[in-house]
Symmetry: D2
Subunit: 305 residues, 4 copies
């Protein structure tokens, strides 16, 4: 398997020349576009790696399914889904339009920014600090990595340039989908996006979702089976921004990407995969990362459909 | 299993009181709203039935994935997907707006009307008659039922009231996504929607898709493995109109509904399911039919995520 | 005044180098982009001309306010405005989107294609021929020119390439805003767009509107005062496509443009102006023609605000 | 004239029973719905009044054309119109959608909230206090009323409930149409909306605009001729929210309404009119106020078209 991974990385290295590294904040712009790495953890807890699998990067939108899981554990589901929908939107991740044109004005789903701001607002805690701490602990447990933390340079930049997210949040507040202090909710949101991880962390979270929420090593249940299924379902229908449909056709694996260049994939009962390649296509997905997953899906017969 | 099906039908019969039977043409309005039926064909070609499983109804939008399969067999894929997208739209099935606001103006996917008109236009044949004949033959082979035919009353009514589809088709022609005579393409489209089937037919098509395109009985390959996967993927991301996301969460099975009241579901490697219940929710899906599938998914552990 | 007109034409000739002649049909593409002409008829029926004032071109969208006048004379107003709105849309003339997103689904106003198709459908007549004849007679009387007729080459091309208008018309029919045979209504619509006129014709129609509907020469009332005011009001709020607001700011005169390169302006109580310059900006307005009107408005103090 | 005004008020009093007083903040909800008042100041500086002409109310959106005038005096025009457009939008005053779907993302015009926030941001001053002071002084001079001030209860409520405006402002900032501190810009915006005036104030501002910017009493030039024309043009094309087109057809006078119940009208060279009637139609315009203006336009022949 390690050979296979090495081969897949080598063959797809050429795709790191296409697309652009995210540049809306300086910290992301500094990523090395030629980096490409992968880690797979299988259902025997075997770990396979290749390329730049241990380069650190920020999790960005890959935090969305994880925070959704937390929101679903912290709140009753009816209440969560009264504030965020379950439908793919067909629009870019940062689109505002449907908040106005939708009948309900509700964010379409928790994988676009507007919906993710809602789920972040639902995390329980007596203070912002407590919420942040609980969130970090949840990520650490899911990834089995206590050293996971926030990249504060990224966080500060996100906060500084986050006016589009601010616009969404105020609109959500105006329409009753979030309560409380907008800047505080956004602070937590920008922090969750700035959590620093590597491919191994993503693979571990992926295998734990694949095993329906039971940790692959400790056998401890971290997420209920139902929630773990929901998360994977959202990853299929909305996980790759407005290219989710094409990804499902070409690759056929539940996956979530982030503009930091990461992709987390979770093949039910089989494996978790973390991929890293910071050069993105126009929709915000790692170009080489998707190519790697497409090859793997073919070679290892991972397509769930 | 027959007992289980009977029980599930009985328990969900009450939901036939909710929603409305489609009424845009008289033939659909005449459906009996209390009807509820199911057929399952499993991977041993065992057939199980309950309720009004042999009531005939028109296939309507359930024809879309099947005609897509045909279009993908009749044309090279790049050409097909240059004319219709792969993304869920988040809009109602008969929405026109995205044909104007999308960057590409391309129909979002082949499961909404605009996209289905494109795939219909791609069916090969030297004449309208030949196309119609080829289409009917394909449905008959997939359902293993030579008696399948068109309900001409429904077809005539569809044609008479089809001005919204006409509007879409002319827009598609204007933008280069369909070629040839619009009325002829629509004629074929209205015919495909008016094909009459029952739950057994749908279950058979479903199991054949579940077996990756190989007929469950004859073992003959009817559709390639890749195309069968594509079809099921589209059924997950866009099969239940703009309620596909919620259905994937609640039920987790590739499925396609039609306003005639049918739902065809295909559980990879396991079974095909045909359900019939003509009272629809606002988005056009059978209310009781969805409830039946939700129960079955739970009881038989069919969720693929 | 003739000297002034000559000077204004000379000074603005340079702007004929900008923009593009309409090219969606061959007949329009053949227009000579360097042409620039003007005719003014004042409230003493004095006629002033300069440049290519007697070049023939097709009236295109300038027919819209005239056919609206006819629709308002043929029908009661409440009925007309139950089928077409009074509001500028902010969208391009051939936009379809608002027909779906508007609460009423009604075309926003009679100056965009969708709205103009509605007003055309309201012209009375026992046959298409009679409607065509009545329409031509109305244009001839308003322009005091019995030789006005249809350019059949343009008409045929419009009809051949008119699929976008066909899409709109079927949507309008679906939503109950037009009745009767769509192709027949469009036939009349394509004919009205293909009426051939020159700057003198436009100036004469303009002065007759400026004199509240009384013909400047015969003193015969051709249009009621109220209708003449309505027409001029629509010309201000929607006459220059989605650049009407800017034109009102810069020029401040009721005016209507067409993609044939013409602009008809009507200064209440003062004068009618016809301008011709076939090179258009992206919104479909004559670039040099607008410059000429801006200069004239300044020099002759024609701004009504 | 006073008799005519009394008669018009009496005849239209019945329309105060229709529609709703604005209720999004408690202060507006407390307005007396049966109030109806008018003031006319003519080009001889004669003042005519009837009904509740001296009831105080907040200016709300009627501040928009005035602040636009100020922005056009404080900045070069090219710079102003690089940040806000000149086109009617066809959308409600608080719509956000076009900020995303427009090619330029620029607010359509300065009469909708998004555009007005831009013009407010362009008011010069070394501090928020100085800007507020300059703004108040400008309103006072235009209305020739030094007692004009801000209703701080309304201001506080606007600020508290202004999350939709906040959303717009952050989107505008994100897209580069406003600079500086969003909360400070909104503070000024909420203050301008909370300026308290009566019908006499509005009539005075109206006549000064009608006289092309020269104060009717002091003969002092307050606004340039060009700016005064621009303001009236925007009042025609966008002054009555998304009912501007219909108002232009029915009444034909430059006018601006506010959700406080006021309407300011300006008949070029003839008169300024202030009307007050707090019960609004769904688009935010005073129902009885519009009826009064329609009657007056008919009786006094004020239609400019």
């Amino acid at each position: 398997m390690n050979n296979l991974l090495k081969q897949v990385i080598d063959e797809n290295k050429k795709y790191t020349n296409y697309g652009q590294v995210a540049s809306y904040i300086p910290e992301l712009k500094n990523a090395k576009r030629s980096d490409l790495g992968i880690c797979i953890i299988d259902n025997n807890n075997k770990i396979y790696t290749a390329g730049n699998y241990n380069t650190k990067f920020t999790i960005q939108s890959i935090s969305k399914p994880i925070v959704l899981a937390m929101a679903l554990m912290d709140n009753d589901w009816t209440s969560v889904f009264s504030k965020v929908g379950m439908e793919p939107s067909g629009d870019p991740f940062n689109s505002i339009m449907k908040l106005e044109t939708n009948d309900t004005k509700k964010p379409s789903n928790p994988m676009i920014n507007a919906g993710a701001i809602v789920t972040t607002s639902l995390i329980k805690g007596n203070s912002l600090e407590e919420k942040e701490e609980r969130m970090l602990q949840f990520f650490r447990r899911l990834a089995n990595n206590d050293s996971i933390g926030i990249n504060y340079e990224v966080y500060k930049s996100e906060k500084l340039t986050g006016d589009r997210n601010r616009a969404m949040a105020y609109l959500l507040k105006n329409d009753g989908f979030i309560n409380g202090d907008v800047e505080e909710i956004l602070d937590l949101y920008f922090k969750q996006c700035s959590i620093e991880i590597d491919c191994v962390d993503l693979a571990r979270i992926g295998i734990n979702l694949a095993m329906y929420g039971v940790d692959i090593e400790s056998k401890e249940r971290l997420i209920s089976e139902k929630v773990s299924r929901m998360i994977k379902t959202f990853m299929v229908t909305c996980g790759m921004y407005d290219a989710s449909g094409e990804f499902a056709i070409r690759v056929g694996i539940p996956a979530k990407s982030g503009v930091g260049g990461g992709v987390m994939a979770s093949v039910p009962e089989k494996m978790g995969i973390g991929v890293y390649g910071p050069a993105l296509d126009k929709k915000g997905n790692s170009i080489a990362g998707i190519k790697v997953l497409e090859d793997l899906s073919e070679k290892l017969e991972l397509n769930i459909f």
